[in-house]
């Protein structure tokens, strides 16, 4: 999944809309999905916003991203299957090539797999549906749970929020819908894989997670794609509603191909005593803008972030976190780390807002960056706004080099310089790696070794 630089995917039979964005393209997508009118209207309204909104005035340079040639909808010629064996062989092979191991799938409560614009495989353990857990692809949810979808879909991320939220609203396709009923603990994570297999396409999956009072739930998403000479675009959206006393852990291992613009939006709203835990690794893509947001709106709501950005040659990763304390006794903790090497550029952008009513709130934000060589770049820009006098807010940032003493020490113990560097990088990223499912952690270590010519691990 992670180490897939040289993977060549098999050509498969696809249906696609014409490039660019127009009313016609949107009508076509909506028609292909036989959607209800309200969804078609939401798409068309979003298109209007998209046309009106300017490009973001911060972050990465997207002037070379030509939205007129991006194909916004690519449908694999396959029906949604509930058995992996029924997924057409060529698509299955492409997933297998990316190293989505069978064994791992078995350790999950449910799995979804999206190829280009549509979910091609979907499965959940039986006992979960008996508990009332809903896990379906987003298109199915629109038809089968219209009330829930209408109530939550693009309410946390309204289509007029920014240009790429509007684009998402217009052409979204695929993704995952999850509902966990009151006081249900889902014992194993549910995972979705997103794969972009076509050159010049855009993927716009929508993830909507509603976790009811006192429930516990863990979700993992993995993103991958083949590298092409033309640009691909990913503008997904994740909306998470954490109800009173519920806990959600949301992990992302993003490894889009190096031709991808990843302009993604993720947001969680957290009610009283609820918790959202974000684990986020950004390794792939050419350019990323991603700032998962936590809106702490209930008393005692809590958020924690463990994030890393891993910017190598040709990558500009502009990532960060946004936390809004809107209620008393809310707390947030951010541990954000980045590595830049081989000319990579990582930028941490943070926003922390503590409103006047959020008394007795606590926040601690730590971001650190490790620069491995002289051609890379690392920046940090957090914004902190505190509007009351009964909160404790602390922020620290550190940008530094790999110390020569450390390398010297490790070399005196018999390691090569490359091994020493890889070991230090791994140690630096340890809090994130520890949170990963085992297979991912192994893959991740392998990737670091590959990048630093190290053979230990």
């Amino acid at each position: 999944m992670i180490e897939k630089e040289h993977v060549i995917l098999k050509d498969i039979n696809l249906k696609r809309t014409e490039p660019g964005l127009s009313r016609k393209v949107i009508e076509e997508i909506s028609y292909a999905k036989s959607e209800p009118d309200w969804m078609r209207e939401l798409r068309l309204k979003s298109l209007e916003y998209f046309i009106q909104r300017p490009n973001p005035t911060f972050g990465v340079d997207i002037s070379k991203l030509d939205l007129d040639i991006i194909v916004n909808y690519v449908r694999p010629n396959s029906k949604r299957q509930n058995s992996w064996e029924d997924v057409p062989e060529d698509i299955r092979e492409n997933f297998e090539k990316l190293g989505i191991p069978e064994a791992e799938r078995k350790a999950l409560a449910g799995v979804g797999a999206q190829y280009d614009s549509e979910i091609v495989y979907h499965n959940m353990k039986d006992y979960l549906s008996k508990l009332g857990v809903i896990f379906v692809d987003m298109d199915t949810a629109v038809k089968e749970y219209p009330d829930l979808v209408k109530k939550y879909f693009m309410h946390l991320i309204p289509p007029n929020d920014h240009k790429f939220a509007a684009l998402h609203g217009a052409v979204w396709s695929g993704g995952t819908f999850i509902y966990v009923p009151e006081n249900i603990s889902v014992p194993m994570p549910i995972q979705s894989y997103y794969l972009m297999g076509s050159p010049g396409m855009g993927q716009f999956e929508h993830t909507l997670i509603i976790v009811d009072k006192g429930a516990h739930f863990e979700f993992i998403e993995g993103c991958s794609g083949q590298n092409y000479s033309v640009s691909n675009l990913h503008a997904g959206a994740v909306e998470i509603y954490v109800n009173e006393g519920a806990t959600v852990k949301f992990s992302t291992i993003e490894n889009w191909a190096k031709n991808t613009y990843n302009l993604n939006t993720k947001r969680a709203s957290v009610d009283k005593d609820g918790t959202i835990l974000w684990i986020s690794g950004t390794m792939g893509s050419a350019k990323t803008m991603l700032y998962p947001s936590s809106i702490l709106k209930g008393k005692g709501a809590r958020t924690e972030y463990t994030t890393i950005a891993y910017a190598g040659p040709g990558q500009h990763l502009d990532t960060g976190t946004k936390v809004f304390h809107f209620a008393p006794y809310t707390s947030s903790k951010v541990d954000s780390r980045s590595i830049s090497f081989g000319g990579g550029y990582s930028f941490y952008r943070g926003l922390l807002k503590v409103s006047q009513s959020a008394i007795h709130s606590r926040s601690s934000v730590e971001c650190s960056a490790l620069m491995v060589d002289d051609i890379s770049k690392s920046d940090t820009l957090p914004i902190i706004e505190v509007m009351n006098n009964e909160s404790e807010i602390g922020h620290e940032a550190y940008i530094g080099k790999i110390s020569e003493d450390q390398i010297y020490y490790l070399m005196s113990r018999g390691l090569t310089e490359d091994d020493a560097k890889a070991l230090i990088v791994r140690g630096f990223l340890d809090p994130f790696i520890k949170q990963l499912p085992f297979e991912y952690a192994v893959e991740f270590n392998r990737m670091i070794n590959m990048n630093f010519n190290s053979k230990i691990g």
Partner: protein, 380 residues
Amino acid sequence: MFTKVEPIVKTFESLQDYTMRDLPDESEFRAQQALKYSQEKFPVWKRLGFSEFVKEKIEKYNGDFLDGKSKILENSEKALDEKIFRDLLGRYFYGVHPKFTLLSSAFFNTGFSSLVSGHGDIHVRYDLNKNPVVIENSVAIIENGSEATMIRKISGSGRLSNSTLKFVLRQGARLKLFNVFIASKTSLFVDSNLYLLAEGADLEIYDVIFGAQKMAIDRTIDLEGINSKAKIRSVYFGRGKERVDLRYSLNHLASKTYGRTEGNGILADEAYSVFRGNIDIKKDAYEADSEEKNAILNLSPNSRADSIPSLFVDNSTVTARHGSSVGNIDEDKLYYLMSRGLDERSAIKLIVEGIFRPVIDEIPDENLKKEIENALSVRI
């Protein structure tokens, strides 16, 4: 290699603005600067709530404002006759925004120009009560191996105080500068300083800030020479509806440069402060060492503190860090002091004084020390 997209500064055109007709004389210098001024629009400052400009009549500065000793020390108006000063007085500088730095260059009604050789001691004080509009354009050059101490005070209740200062510290030069602003009823207070440090130069800045209604302050420090060093201490106390936006930028352009910024703020009533500490370490700044700290004490449920520290690093051999904290008065500390017989007010006063004390102690002027202590006790 990568382009960083940055927000464009929003601007507005003011119906009231200075034109060539407002120039005090027909000098070519002022005319040229005024032409550049006319091409700039005013910035919109969202956090400061600045989106309209009130044109105030600029009159000749009334009274003495300058004393001390240095090789050359004179009024900037007079200094325009000398090329070395004229070039620096007219040098483009972004500061808080070019509209305001150019306002100084073209329309200044006061300011000093100084050349320090050996030892210099300079005292500048502007009285906003007598001169409700102060437009300052000042420069100082500290020669190789020379050192200077400078105290600059702006106080009183005025309508507009706009200053632009540029300091050139040549090889091994040292400057210790105290800026003391006590101007809480002044409507708009803008202060832009540029510091250019050559090899081995050593700069210490102490800013003591007791408001104006709206204040925008910029310190741009270019560490251009190897081993140059800058240390900044800033203390401020906002109350009422005062707003202050402070920006301290340390630009590391050469190797082994060193920077320390420490800002401590106290906010009461509905005061609002923005503290921007920027550290920019360029490619050639090998082994640069820079740190920025900012701590704010909110005394009121209606005060607001923003902190925007940034680190931009292009070189991997550096150490750079920043830290910010916003909090209220530590209840344990308060309890302890009260258990020692102090009432709550006196205890808070003691804590606040503790924040200002390290800076007050550095001030080499007993009268000014007292003035600051008074300003502090009035505010508590």
